[in-house]
């Protein structure tokens, strides 16, 4: 599970840091830091954070996770 933040869009509202503090952090008042990879335990929090972003700058990618991304190869 991966995520990317479009830092050109990010305006430092920090909603993601409140909702998923183990994945996102503020350095100083505005610079956003984030872990581009996160594990299952953080999934709900990351979903909340991405949806909450007031400028919709967070993209979450599940393509490396067979149950949610592309259908696993069958047979």
């Amino acid at each position: 599970m991966r995520l990317v933040v479009d830092l050109n869009r990010c305006q430092g509202y920090a909603q993601c840091v409140f909702l998923a503090p183990d994945v996102f952090a503020l350095h100083g008042d505005e610079a956003l830091l984030f872990s581009p990879r996160f594990d299952e335990a953080q999934r709900d929090r990351v979903e909340e954070a991405a949806a909450a972003c007031p400028v919709q700058a967070i993209l979450v990618d599940y393509s490396d996770e067979p149950t949610r991304g592309a259908e696993p190869h069958v047979g």
Partner: protein, 402 residues
């Protein structure tokens, strides 16, 4: 305000259950002047631009004499306005200070740390549904949770919570622009004083014996008057708005059985669904306390310096130029940059707490309770047009899962 103006219609209780046709009418003229010189702005991009425009003030003392000075305690009280009714640099100084024990960068885990406690409260509230065939979602569920949440944030002892219900009600109704009648304003002033007296005692206690919550953390850094104003603001804002958000989500889901059915099969739908309710039925419908500090040109109209400006968030959230098919409740909507929590420097301070409460409440409510339907639709609404929401939401229930 003269009867017949659109502001009179918006504040008219008869339109409370469904103000959206009025908002659609408003959007036909994105910037509209009322006879008393108030300007209403109702389209998405214009609202968003103005909310981010430093020439628009949240300090109603910038209005000429004769206009309502929302948010400013009468001079004889000696109380300062809370930070929502201030501008930079005072605003930024206060908000940064208050944020220090509340959120990042200094306290990024404070609210996340409340999740387990809030989940416990939700469980207790839902356990009490056992054996009932009808409940009032407002009284029995939406109302108690935010009181507990905000008291935990501030560090107010739980046994004092019932008093806050009464004070918060009186203060919230004072934000409501109503034609005629200062009764609400007087009641609000009294409630503010009573609550203020209680809080200054509590702040003094916290100063001497620090405990959990942000009041203890802030006591050394703020004047007692500023801290008291902040506590009042957070209590009022934490109550009414979150109550409405939880209730509106329940109401909207029960009105959309197709979405409800999907949600029950796929609890992950909670995340986009909650954001869509914040667009579709925002708990703060409009912001009637801004003032132009200079002549501002918006969409071909000049708003003159000193004019009261109402930013119509609920109308902007249904602007077809921004949201496709805006009157449709659609949790699959992409790019949902709604204005439910406002935008710019006054973006809702409590938004993350509200979201944490919604995520604690909504999925668990619909996982555990089997609903048979609304008992009244539309439900009875509170009088408030700004902090709009049902006063009661009676629903029939068939059962409760553990």
């Amino acid at each position: 305000m003269t009867p017949g103006t659109i502001t009179a219609q918006i504040t008219d209780y008869a339109n409370r259950a469904d103000p959206y046709p009025l908002y659609a009418e408003l959007r036909e003229q994105p910037v509209r002047r009322e006879d008393d010189g108030t300007y209403l702005v109702s389209t998405y991009y214009e609202v968003r631009n103005l909310a981010n425009d430093p020439r628009l003030s949240n300090d109603t003392r910038n209005r000429p004499p004769g206009y309502a000075r929302v948010g400013h305690p009468a001079e004889e009280t000696g109380l300062p306005p809370s930070f929502i009714f201030t501008d930079p640099p005072v605003h930024d100084r206060l908000r940064d200070t208050i944020n220090r024990p509340f959120g990042p960068p200094h306290s990024p885990r404070f609210l996340d740390g409340l999740r387990a406690d809030l989940a416990t409260v939700v469980t207790e509230l839902l356990d009490a549904f056992e054996g009932k065939d009808q409940v009032d979602i407002v009284e029995d569920f939406s109302y108690p949770l935010p009181v507990t949440a905000i008291c935990k944030v501030l560090g107010v002892p739980r046994e004092d919570e019932p008093r806050f219900h009464i004070w918060a009600d009186a203060l919230a109704s004072s934000l409501d622009p109503r034609p005629g009648g200062d009764d609400g304003q007087e009641k609000a002033q009294r409630a503010r004083q009573d609550m203020g007296a209680y809080l200054s005692d509590l702040i003094e206690t916290k100063r001497r014996h620090p405990g959990p919550g942000i009041l203890s953390a802030l006591a050394p850094d703020m004047t007692p008057a500023d801290l008291e104003a902040t506590a009042v603001l957070l209590l009022v804002a934490g109550h009414e708005t979150t109550v409405n958000a939880i209730t509106n989500t329940t109401l909207t889901l029960l009105r959309h059985p197709d979405v409800l059915e999907r949600f029950q099969k796929d609890p992950d739908l909670a995340v986009p669904l909650i954001e869509e309710v914040l667009r579709f039925e925002p708990p703060v419908q409009f912001v009637p306390w801004t003032t132009a500090l200079a002549d501002i040109d918006v969409a071909g109209t000049t708003i003159p310096k000193g004019s009261p400006v109402w930013l119509m968030l609920a109308a902007a959230n249904r602007d077809p130029k921004r949201f496709e098919d805006p009157d449709r409740f659609d949790p699959d909507r992409k790019d949902n940059e709604h204005l439910g929590f406002y935008t710019g420097i006054h973006y809702c301070f409590g938004a993350p707490l509200a979201r944490i409460e919604l995520h604690a409440a909504v999925p668990e409510l619909f996982r555990r309770v089997k609903f048979s339907g609304l008992l009244e639709d539309p439900p009875p609404y509170r009088t408030n047009a700004v902090l709009r929401g049902p006063r009661h939401l009676p629903v029939a229930i068939e059962g409760l899962t553990a």
